[in-house]
Symmetry: C2
Subunit: 145 residues, 2 copies
Amino acid sequence: MTSMAPEERIGSHIKRAEQALLAAKNAACKPAAVTVPQYAALLWLAEKPGISAAALARLCGVTPPTMNTVLKNLQERGLIERTPHEWHRNVLETRLTEEGRAAMELADTGAVRVERALAAAFTEEERELFIALLGRCAEVLDAER
Amino acid sequence: MTSMAPEERIGSHIKRAEQALLAAKNAACKPAAVTVPQYAALLWLAEKPGISAAALARLCGVTPPTMNTVLKNLQERGLIERTPHEWHRNVLETRLTEEGRAAMELADTGAVRVERALAAAFTEEERELFIALLGRCAEVLDAER
DNA sequence: GAATGTATGTTAGAGCTCTAATGCATGCAA
DNA sequence: TTGCATGCATTAGAGCTCTAACATACATTC
């Protein structure tokens, strides 16, 4: 019996927390009519205007084709615009439109509210420990591959 | 300034850990040629033969349509079989095939290896604390909705 | 018996995610 | 100059995920 009870699997609890996080953020982004990945992209775009899609993908922790999908949807809705780079013709510079900035700010207030509620559930000490434990997780799991 | 640095957002770290977890489990399930959600379904099916799709969805923490998608793929590959329930005609009983059990066991050895590696990165005390912190997360976030 | 309620199953549609493969552009080196 | 390496963008294909809506079947209550 190589098996292991689900409750003993740390992964189950991580997954559960992540799911709750996604659901809460999704609800928070709903007034702005954007999804969580869209909000993440908009947030980084506000900070780094003209960034390439590949670099944006790295910041958001997804692959370039995934970011391509997200950006395509954002562009169709007029929240971003993409223009060819002056020198590197193959690169597209992506920027927020006015509408895009407004959507980002609206979604951000909701997202920050969620993050603050989350942070309020821990003492400063707990929070730091928690982040350290999560970091160790990612480290070990990445090494496992 | 309603904004918040990404590093301060606990959510970022949860997402990162979850991503690493998913990547590691995906790699672990690859020899069995199943995805992580498929493995999760197969694992529960082994423990609860004849379970309904809706109940299985609850165990796996997904919605019924999602489980439907997963089961459809598993059925097409002959890893499960679904038969109408004796009394409740609307219910389909789902069971592993021989092939399905073999795939589950192969994937399970990989998944358990990942979980053991993860568990080994923490002391018993840390592990319990970590799970408690993750649980508090899910609790707070679910309440936030 | 009829109405309500609960649970299951399914379809439709939108969106995210990955791997794999391809094409293009730039820059560096032989 | 030619070739190679790097990086960006995109397409194709498979699969997961959700919400919304609808259909069905059983159970309870009136």
